[in-house]
C-alpha cells in the first residue's frame, strides 16, 4: 500500500468521523474550514477524496416526523435509487443530501458508511425468512 493511498484513507476516515454528529450542511462547512485552511493535503488529493465520496459513500438518514417521511420517501424514490431499511431509515448516496436540502424536507443523518455495506444490506434481504 503506497503512502499516498494511506493518507487518502486516513483523511476519508477523518471526514466520516467528523460527519457523524453533525448535520450535512454543518459537516460540509467543517470540512471546508479544516481542510482548506490548514492545507495539509494537496488539492488534487482532496478532489479525489470528494469524488470518491460522491460516487461510493453512502449515508443513512431518517426524516423528521411521519408526514415528512412520507413526502421524503416519495421524493427520493422519484429521483434516486434508495435502500429502505427498518425504522423508516434510508440509505442513499452521500451526494443526494444536497438534493434533499433543496427540497427543504427536514432529516437527520444517522451515519455514513461505505458502498460495500449498502450492498450487504440488500443481500441480507435474501436471507430473511418468511
Amino acid at each position: 500500500m503506497s503512502q499516498d493511498y494511506v493518507t487518502d484513507y486516513i483523511v476519508l476516515i477523518l471526514k466520516t468521523a467528523v460527519h457523524l454528529p453533525l448535520r450535512h450542511r454543518d459537516a460540509e462547512n467543517y470540512y471546508e474550514s479544516i481542510f482548506t485552511a490548514d492545507s495539509f493535503i494537496e488539492p488534487l488529493t482532496l478532489f479525489i477524496i470528494n469524488l470518491y465520496s460522491l460516487i461510493m459513500k453512502m449515508v443513512r438518514i431518517k426524516f423528521k416526523g411521519t408526514e415528512n417521511d412520507a413526502i421524503g420517501f416519495l421524493e427520493l424514490s422519484k429521483r434516486i435509487r434508495v435502500v429502505c431499511l427498518p425504522e423508516d431509515t434510508y440509505e442513499i448516496p452521500f451526494s443526494a443530501l444536497k438534493m434533499i436540502d433543496s427540497l427543504d424536507i427536514p432529516y437527520t443523518v444517522i451515519e455514513t458508511e461505505g458502498f460495500d455495506n449498502a450492498i450487504r444490506k440488500i443481500r441480507d434481504t435474501a436471507s430473511a425468512k418468511i
Binding site: 411521519t66 417521511d69 412520507a70 413526502i71 420517501f73 416519495l74 427520493l76 424514490s77 422519484k78 429521483r79 434516486i80 435509487r81 434508495v82 435502500v83 429502505c84 431499511l85 427498518p86 423508516d88 444490506k121 440488500i122 443481500r123 441480507d124 434481504t125 435474501a126 436471507s127 430473511a128 418468511i130
Partner: protein, 104 residues
C-alpha cells in the same frame, strides 16, 4: 436456496390524473420492509401507456425491488399483496413480476 427478484410497479397518479398520496407509498414500503428486512426503490420513473376496454391510460411509475429466497410462501404473499395494492392505489391491475437471480 434459489433467489428471486420481485419488482412492483406502482403508479404516481390515479387514473383520473390526481396524485397518489405519499402516505400510501410509505405504507407499502413499511409493510415490505417489515416482511423482508430491506427493499430497494429504483431511481428512475417508468412510463407506460396501456389500454383497458376502449380507454387508454398513461402511467408514471416507480419500481420497488425485493430480492428474496424462492419459496411457496413468498409467491403466496405477493399474490395477496397485489390485491391489497390494487385496492390501495385504486388500480385495475398492479404489475408485479418475479425472475430468478444469481448472486456472484
Amino acid at each position: 436456496m434459489p433467489l428471486e427478484r420481485y419488482e412492483i410497479l406502482l403508479p404516481l397518479k390515479y387514473n383520473d390524473g390526481t396524485s397518489v398520496e405519499p402516505e400510501k407509498f410509505r405504507q407499502t414500503k413499511i409493510e415490505l420492509v417489515e416482511k423482508f428486512g430491506a427493499i430497494t426503490v429504483e431511481p428512475q420513473s417508468v412510463h407506460g401507456i396501456w389500454t383497458h376496454g376502449s380507454n387508454e391510460y398513461a402511467d408514471e411509475l416507480i419500481r420497488f425491488i425485493i430480492d428474496i429466497e424462492t419459496t411457496i410462501e413468498t409467491e403466496k404473499f405477493f399474490k395477496e399483496f397485489k390485491e391489497k395494492l390494487k385496492a390501495r392505489f385504486q388500480q385495475i391491475e398492479i404489475w408485479i413480476t418475479a425472475y430468478p437471480i444469481r448472486l456472484i
